[in-house]
Subunit: 153 residues, 2 copies
DNA sequence: CAGTAGATTAGACAACGTCTAATCTTGACA
DNA sequence: TGTCAAGATTAGACGTTGTCTAATCTACTG
């Protein structure tokens, strides 16, 4: 695997000091060419416990990697989803969210803030989650909605 | 309750022949002023088993009620949701969908066509669907994804 | 050191949903 | 019935999200 400790674009070169080689390996294991931009996006999106939107990722990555375009972030995130590195969530009306947790789990949505929380898979017992007749099921999850309880005593 | 058998706008009057008075009562029961446009939207959206988007509703209503603007359809659908007549679904990346079925139920998404099917509430047995600590839960549902099975023999 | 495949880019573009100011209709009241 | 205020509707502008395209750049090959 290559070092990938710097990248240059348009005569400007950028040193990627803190890039853990770990991320490069993850990309390669998923059959993704580890360009510097992709490493930067992976570095951000795989190390968050939130569920950021594409533009949120763009803003976050730009802080450590200023030279990256919006199109690349969108391309990269879609590539990661295609390669099984991320999952897309369609839970909010505003935008698609990306979930770095690819293990089975459920979601809880705070209706006030829009924040999304992971719920462990085995916290909910479920049975008879069968597909419709004539269909095959690819996956399922429980989506819960609620809001923070008023503190009382 | 008023008759509401016609409406006029900009010197053009439209007769609402087939409007079931039933729909007018439903609107009034939910505290909604039954204008002609609202009745037309309700007539369409409450009598479908699909899960149309707002623009889909607009197109559908226009076939029987040509004089209605896009803004009114959006306003009306949002009003219906606010008054508990419809529910919003955030299942697809493209647009918000509206569900005339306000009873508890689950959903199955055909990943090929994007079509959404209702799944009866009691078909799935679930337990321990508790809120996160410090939260109160407002509702929950199971979202399943899959595709039509290839026919074989 | 060229040549080529793949990655990146800026900006145009399309779709969805909201907003605003103006206009219209309705219902109340005289 | 005529007037008026409150509410409903409208066209179009606008903002955001996401995709697309053609051009440019980088990295790999020999």
């Amino acid at each position: 695997a290559r070092a990938l400790d710097k990248v240059q674009y348009q005569n400007v070169s950028i040193v990627l000091a803190d890039m853990k080689p770990n991320v490069v390996h993850i990309l390669e294991q998923h059959g993704i060419q580890p360009s510097a931009q992709r490493v930067a996006v992976a570095e951000y999106v795989l190390h968050t416990t939130e569920h950021p939107s594409a533009d949120r990722v763009w803003a976050g990555v730009q802080q450590t990697f200023p030279i990256i375009s919006r199109a690349t972030v969108y391309n990269t995130l879609n590539l990661f989803v295609e390669k099984g590195l991320l999952r897309q969530l369609h839970l909010a009306p505003d935008s698609v969210l990306f979930d770095p947790n690819i293990d089975r789990h459920h979601h809880f949505i705070d209706e006030d803030t829009g924040k999304i929380y992971d719920v462990p898979w085995n916290q909910i017992e479920m049975s008879n989650a069968k597909p419709l007749p004539g269909f095959e099921i690819h996956g399922y999850q429980v989506v819960m909605r609620g809001r923070r309880r008023k503190s009382r005593r």
